[in-house]
């Protein structure tokens, strides 16, 4: 994204590209210092400031949400949040952490938008949460304005949009049936900007900071999949990287909470695990600096990075009870189709495994020696 790259140029680089000489630049700095009422000894500071690459300005909006995305962002282990906020981006507008409040706070956003309109600044819009569309948007207001109007106004002048979390990417919990406020994800409101979608409730911290640092380091957006998610984090199903996968393949399942299988770390599929239909980096990156992830800690995945996952319940019921005897679908095949179809595919996958087991001599109480062909 060339537009993004130029937004990271220093003032000096910008001037140089327009044919301004070094000598003229230094003279400009001296004039600027004088105009600011600074002593001649302060001129080098002005030179330094104008030579230094500005940090990428970010406006972080909060709509209907629970702030779990912000909290997750702060949990990042590499890079840590401090490095991002002090050294990489300029988090210019964020309700959760901003020192200023009320009109002093709103002024920051208005000024940045005005500068962008005049071509004097560029910013990225990060959105946490989503907009209620029912009843004129009265279900979420800030500074007396509806969130939907703030979102549209701010997005109109942004370089691109990052949709943090499931609220912004797929609607999440407030959009679950019957969606009382008419909450819609960002892409249903903002149609004319590139949107990078980072689903999850919340997304993994290092995925959030990974996407930001990718953009800052390489000056372009990461490769996105057909749903607009960065492929590097959302290409794989959890099921394919799951530490409990061998138990699935062997037909060893937790049948009841805290049973012997649970203590041995067997597969949670029968307890409702959505790992087979969920695309996310949990099994690779894990959570909280690699400490664990839901399945490792004994609870099935609830599929929080998938569209409409709240209505794909109840969570403790298996994906599908349908059995397709004698058919074996591979994990790869399942991964390429939509969630609903995938559920049936998983049943087929399991049925296929069961079929193979039935062909082998039964060893009561032991399934560990079964070999998957």
């Amino acid at each position: 994204m060339s537009v993004l790259k130029s937004s990271l140029d220093s003032t000096y680089e910008l001037l140089a590209r327009h044919g301004v000489s070094r000598r003229a630049f230094l003279s400009f700095c001296a004039t600027t210092a004088a105009a600011l009422g600074l002593d001649a000894s302060e001129v080098p500071k002005v030179v330094h400031a104008l030579e230094t690459k500005p940090r990428l300005p970010v406006i972080w909006l909060h709509g209907l949400e629970c702030t779990c995305c912000s909290e997750s962002f702060l949990r990042s282990s590499h890079p840590i949040a401090q490095d991002i906020v002090l050294n990489m981006i300029s988090l210019d507008y964020d309700e959760v952490l901003q020192a200023a409040a009320g009109h002093q706070f709103e002024q920051i956003r208005r000024d940045l938008i005005e500068k962008a309109k005049r071509g004097e600044a560029k910013y990225v819009l990060a959105v946490e949460g989503n907009a209620p569309t029912k009843d004129g948007g009265v279900y979420c207001t800030s500074a007396g304005e509806t969130f939907s109007s703030v979102l549209l106004e701010t997005a109109a002048h942004a370089e691109f949009v990052i949709a943090w979390g499931s609220c912004a990417t797929n609607g999440c919990v407030q959009a679950a049936k019957p969606n009382p406020t008419g909450a819609v994800p960002v892409h249903e409101m903002v149609k004319d900007k590139p949107i990078v979608k980072i689903p999850g409730c919340p997304p993994i911290a290092e995925v959030m900071t990974g996407v930001l640092t990718y953009v800052l380091t390489f000056g372009k957006l990461p490769e996105l999949d057909r749903k607009g998610r960065p492929a590097m984090f959302y290409k794989q199903r959890l099921h394919d990287k799951c530490g409990r996968r061998a138990f699935f393949d062997n037909g060893q399942f937790v049948e009841q909470w805290d049973d012997d299988g649970a203590k041995k770390g067997w597969c949670l599929y029968k307890m409702g695990c959505r790992g087979p239909t969920t695309y996310n980096a949990c099994a690779n990156v894990k959570w909280n600096g690699g400490t664990s992830w839901p399945i490792q800690s004994g609870h099935g995945c609830i599929g929080c990075s998938e569209d409409k996952f709240w209505d794909d319940g109840p969570f403790y019921e298996r994906l599908s009870k349908a059995v397709v005897p004698g058919v074996e679908a591979t994990a790869q095949k399942i991964g390429t189709v939509l969630t609903g179809v995938a559920a049936a595919g998983i049943a087929a996958h399991l049925a296929g495994l069961a079929f193979k087991r039935a062909q082998q001599p039964a060893v009561p109480g032991s399934t560990s020696k079964e070999v998957q062909s």
Binding site: P57, H62, C66, T67, C68, E71, L74, R75, I80, V85, S90, D92, D94, E95, V96, L97, Q98, A99, A100, A101, G102, Q104, Q107, I108, D135, G137, V138, Y139, T141, A143, G144, E145, V173, Q174, A176, K177, P178, P180, A183, C201, P202, G243, W257, A262, K263, G265, C282, W287, N288, G289, T291, S292, P294, S297, G298, H299, G313, P314, F315, Y316
Partner: protein, 574 residues
């Protein structure tokens, strides 16, 4: 100074969307205040018809800052309804999760959401690093980073940041405001610890990842906890996992005892006038938590239960959140309406219909004579109540608990203040730190309790006897409660034919940030703001101090359920 109406919207450094309108007289003193929640999502409505065992996951998403507390309250509500006892070990693991949340939440509130009300970042630029190190050593002799070299580095980082001209989160704020009183060195120390706390906060919550798989939003389970314990397994909670938990508790103990509490007391000593401001209602309520003998035995809670009225520390009144004649919610000043002209309802009977009567956005002012919030108005026996750390510390103190008395009297002694100083903005902020001192000790105690159970071979983390819906009564009701970081939290669930028939949450910030009731009685925020002096009404620093002392959490507060409740109650999502 002319009389004016000060609008602070949005109130930043909180969770969620809060608007405050304050009437300030020509003396610069707040004479009336409106507290307005400006967001509503309708999660309780969304819960209707769903599997009660899923409710913890939905309600957990009420708030990602105080993550876990709604999951805990929800599990307890459903367990109370269907009649299942949680194993002792699961109760202890829940206590570990709960106390971890409390410590992490209180520390980040102090440094990242509240400190900039007291700490002037620009003044910190003028600090002498050597003097700053001396100051830090004087209040925290064992803190390893209290050195001139460390403070030189922090000062250099800060200077570089400011000279970049991009002030980011610190732009356009109130630096230099006359209400800032700290010397430059105290400011620099606080800025350094703002950054230290930011680095540390991600560590403690690894305890949530161990037992719940992730944070924010770890996993819970009706009937216990989902993490099995097997000391001989490489796929369950084993000694490596337990060692990780213990290491994180010990790290947190250092942060709380050598950084947070000393900083808090040092900063407080420069603001004695704030022990006279922001006292508010004087009514306090705690449901209690951290069970030692199951959730059904409040007499054995580490955080005691009780009510204090009119600042009377000589008497702690009993409170029963399940009783049908104690807690009510009103909607007279909220954007909802009740059927048949009813004025107040008990949470079990809760019925709500969104009915926005506020000004059409974009708007300048709310109508102080009409409805003005998406928050309801909860009341205990008709009284407006304050909940949260101050309420808990006062109930513990007034109950005569030795552990509470020790930390409260210790802090008051250091600051040379009487107990009445607690009824204030600064008292509320101090109570949060003193509570953290207690909580960090309890966290270690609960960890030891867990080891004691494991030593006798008790590892049971889940009771599945009532897992299947076929074992449930056809119709049942349950209460789940906890003490969230911000105060007393209750979930009331009505289960019918294996599905949620009705679900109601009454949360801490609804108690504290509620609009007025039918009698015109203010909620806790509003009451605390009245009488606040403002040096510069266009720079609402003093309003932020008092509001932040409550640690607002508005996503929680404006959860209440929704439009056309009766009809949509029949919706079943399958």
């Amino acid at each position: 100074m002319t009389a004016t109406r000060v609008v602070v919207d949005p109130v930043t450094r909180i969770e969620g969307h809060l608007r405050v309108e304050a009437m300030v007289n020509d003396q610069g003193v707040v004479t009336e205040a409106l507290s307005s929640g400006t967001m509503w999502r309708g999660i309780e409505l969304i819960l209707q018809g769903r599997d009660p065992r899923d409710a913890w996951a939905f309600t957990e998403r009420i708030c990602g800052v105080c993550t876990t507390v709604h999951a805990l309250a929800s599990c307890r509500a459903v367990e109370d309804a269907i009649g299942v006892q949680v194993p002792v070990v699961a109760d202890i693991v829940r206590n570990l999760m709960f106390l971890t949340q409390m410590v992490q939440d209180h520390v980040i509130h102090f440094y990242h959401l509240h400190a900039l009300d007291w700490v002037d970042i620009v003044s910190a630029l003028k600090a002498d690093p050597v003097a700053t190190a001396q100051l830090n050593q004087s209040i925290s002799p064992h803190w390893a980073m209290a050195t001139p070299g460390y403070y030189k580095d922090v000062a250099a980082t800060l200077t570089k940041f400011v000279e970049s001209g991009q002030l980011g989160l610190f732009a356009n704020a109130y630096w230099g405001h006359p209400a800032y009183k700290l010397p430059p060195e105290a400011n620099l120390m606080a800025v350094a610890h703002y950054l230290e706390a930011l680095k540390w906060q991600k560590e403690l919550v690894k305890i949530h990842a161990v037992f719940g798989g992730k944070n924010p939003h770890p996993n819970y389970l009706v009937g216990g906890m989902p993490c099995s314990i097997d000391l001989q397994s490489d796929n369950a909670i084993n000694i490596e996992r337990l060692n990780l938990v213990k290491a994180k508790i010990l790290e947190a103990k250092d942060v709380v005892e050598q950084m947070y509490v000393p900083d808090l007391l040092a900063i407080a000593s420069f603001y004695p006038e704030w022990t006279q401001i922001g006292g508010g209602l004087g009514n306090f309520m705690a449901y209690g938590d951290v069970p030692q003998n199951g959730i059904g035995d409040p007499s054995k809670f580490r955080i005691p239960r009780g009510v204090i009225l009119d600042r009377n520390l000589a008497e702690v009144l009993p409170v029963d959140p399940k009783a049908d004649n104690e807690i009510t919610e009103e909607v007279g000043r909220s954007w909802y309406r009740y059927p048949d002209g009813k004025q107040k309802l008990h949470p079990f009977a809760g019925h709500t219909e969104a009915h926005y009567t506020g000004p059409k956005p974009p708007y300048q002012h709310l109508d102080e004579n009409g409805a003005y919030s998406w928050l309801k108005t909860p009341r205990w026996k008709g009284h407006a109540m304050e909940v949260g750390p101050l309420a808990r510390m006062l109930v513990g103190y007034a109950s005569g608990r030795a552990d509470f008395r020790e930390v409260v009297d210790g802090a008051l002694g250091k600051l040379k203040l009487p107990a009445t100083a607690l009824f204030s903005t600064l008292g509320r902020t101090a109570a949060r730190g003193l509570e953290t001192q207690l909580v960090i000790g309890w966290l270690m105690d609960e960890f030891d309790r867990l080891l004691e159970r494991l030593k006798v071979g008790d590892t049971s983390t889940a009771n599945s006897s009532k897992w299947e819906k076929s074992t449930w009564p056809k119709e049942c009701k349950g209460l789940g409660f906890t003490e969230a970081p911000r105060g007393a939290l209750g979930h009331w669930v009505h289960v019918k034919d294996g599905a949620i028939h009705n679900y109601q949450c009454v949360v801490p910030s609804t108690w504290n940030a509620s609009p007025k009731d039918a009698e015109g009685k203010r909620g806790a925020y509003e009451a605390a703001l009245v009488g606040t002096p403002m040096a510069k009404p266009d720079q609402p620093l003093e309003i932020l101090r008092t509001i932040h002392s409550f640690d607002p959490c508005l996503a929680c507060a404006s959860h209440v359920y929704g439009p056309d409740g009766a009809e949509l109650a029949r919706v079943r999502v399958r």
